[in-house]
Amino acid sequence: MEKQIRCTKCSKITSVTGNPGDEIIVTCPSCGAKGKIKFEGEKEFNPSDKLVIFKNVSKKYKDVLAVNNASFEIKKGEIFGYIGPNGAGKTTTIKMMVGLLNKTSGELYINGYQMPDEKEKAHKFIGYLPQQVAFQQWRTLNHALTTFGKLSGMEKNSIQPRIDELLTILNLKEYKFRKVGKLSGGTIQKAGIVQALMHNPDLLILDEPLNGLDPESRYQVKQILRDLSKKGTTVFFSSHILSDVQDVATKICIIDWGKIIKIGTMDQLKYEFSKQNQIELVLAKKADIFHEIKKIEGVESIIERSPQKYLINVGKNVDADEITNTIIKTLMKNKCRIRSISPTSPSLDEVYQYYLRRGVKN
């Protein structure tokens, strides 16, 4: 929306544009005087497809910088895997997202609402599973879930069917009327997932959701996350179990010492890693090619893994595609029959270790 304002000093009329609810500092183009202008009305919902926006967010606890200048965006429907070693700053990031902790600096938006100032509005869209799930011990599981359903604004008649549906999916039906104090750790963790999913939130924030779950439950939870993502729910989850992240996440963010080291899809992370690492070569017949390949510029070493299988280490700044081409030409020239040649596909574990080491060096 556009607004015409008159400078109180020089009376020059200037037009200013902004969104409802915005407060803008305006400088008069004529005399340079500054003033504040507020656009009337409620702030509109975020029309963009970005549900979470982190802009240079930092969190400091006394002398410790738990999150250092973190910037990232999460689009609607993404499953955002947040990985890092213990104490990397994962839980602090999550607590800032849900408004349990205030950021020290930077800007953080959830569905267009600035945190923590507009957290009450943002909370309507959030489902949260803390790292340490706890309910009041005297409640039964059904009582606890009913209360959270009501507090999340669910319709009274839709609460019980939803509880039954989720308890059935997670095999918790038999615990429905048991006191929370009598439930095992794994069951409480699953109950925590149920309370986070109860009100069908747009954004699901899960802090180590698969901790303490048996393999069957892990599979079920991962399946639920995939299904929710297909329906348009955005999922943010932290973990240090890399295989779980690899299975579910559509985007991965690596954090260490409070600093975001790398963000990208699994393929993007792997590509950069493999591009700067190794090429696997399989020949149809054993051949003495060490000498010839070593001559190629960019090749650092060659390892014979088995009689026909070789691992070629290339320099970090070499274009892997180009060097692969040169290797193929050299092999053809030497009349070697190639069965396969490709940059090695690293596991997430290798990628993770690579980026962590690189992050520490930087």
Binding site: L100, Y128, Q132, L151, S152
Partner: protein
């Protein structure tokens, strides 16, 4: 809506708790025991209801503040509040609900004990003594309710700011005993309407302590 819901839940939690059940039995039991012992020396000059009133006013406030402090610190440490605070509710709803739940439970426990005392007096003694004793007991109970109010709000404040249960309970026991001085203030300052003065002071102190608790809780990082 959320305030009403949390309040009913807290009330349900407290009145069903073992502490409250014990309290409902302990209040009259201690009173009857003390009355029995004292009657051996005073030849039954002190009525049961007076003894009950004394017991309720002495330990009622202390029990209320300890219950609240322990409950809040324990739930804070266990991270129970995380699941409440990420929902669209006001933080102060949690504290106000807890305050009124315990205040009502302890007051009702005291009232029950007092009713039993009055009933005992009615059965054991004649109506005349009851007529003399009853107005004093009612005044004393009104003062006791004010003390319970102050104690509850003090318990909430210590629960919010204290780092551990042990520290919280020590503070409650150490400072809480001075709350018992409040009923004596009208005598010290020679105020005629002692009940009115204590009630007014009770409401004012309770409101101030609750505002401080809410301020501290709102600023708290979880």
């Amino acid at each position: 809506m959320s305030l009403q819901l949390i309040f009913y839940d807290e009330l349900k939690g407290f009145y069903k708790s073992k502490v409250m059940i014990a309290l409902w039995i302990i209040f009259p039991a201690i009173a009857l025991l003390i009355h029995y012992i004292s009657s051996l020396y005073t030849d039954g000059a002190i009525s049961v209801s007076s003894t009950v009133s004394l017991i309720v006013s002495t330990i009622g406030g202390l029990v209320a503040s300890i219950m609240l402090t322990v409950s809040i610190i324990h739930e804070k440490d266990a991270r129970v509040y995380d699941l409440f605070l990420i929902r669209p509710i006001k933080r102060w709803h949690i504290l106000i609900s807890k305050f009124f739940a315990v205040f009502i439970c302890v007051t009702v426990a005291g009232l029950l004990a007092l009713s039993l005392g009055i009933l005992s007096d009615y059965l054991l003694q004649n109506e005349l003594i009851l007529d003399i004793v009853l107005p004093g007991i009612i005044d004393s109970f009104i003062i006791t309710i004010s003390i319970i109010g102050i104690s509850c709000s003090f318990g909430v404040l210590i629960g919010v700011i204290s780092p551990s249960v042990v520290v919280g309970v020590i503070i409650i026991i150490f400072i809480g005993q001075y709350v018992e001085i409040i009923p004596l203030l009208p005598i010290i300052f020679e105020i005629e309407n002692s009940v009115g003065f204590v009630v007014l002071l009770g409401v004012m102190v309770t409101v101030i302590l609750m505002i401080l608790s809410i301020f501290a809780f709102n600023r708290k990082q979880f």
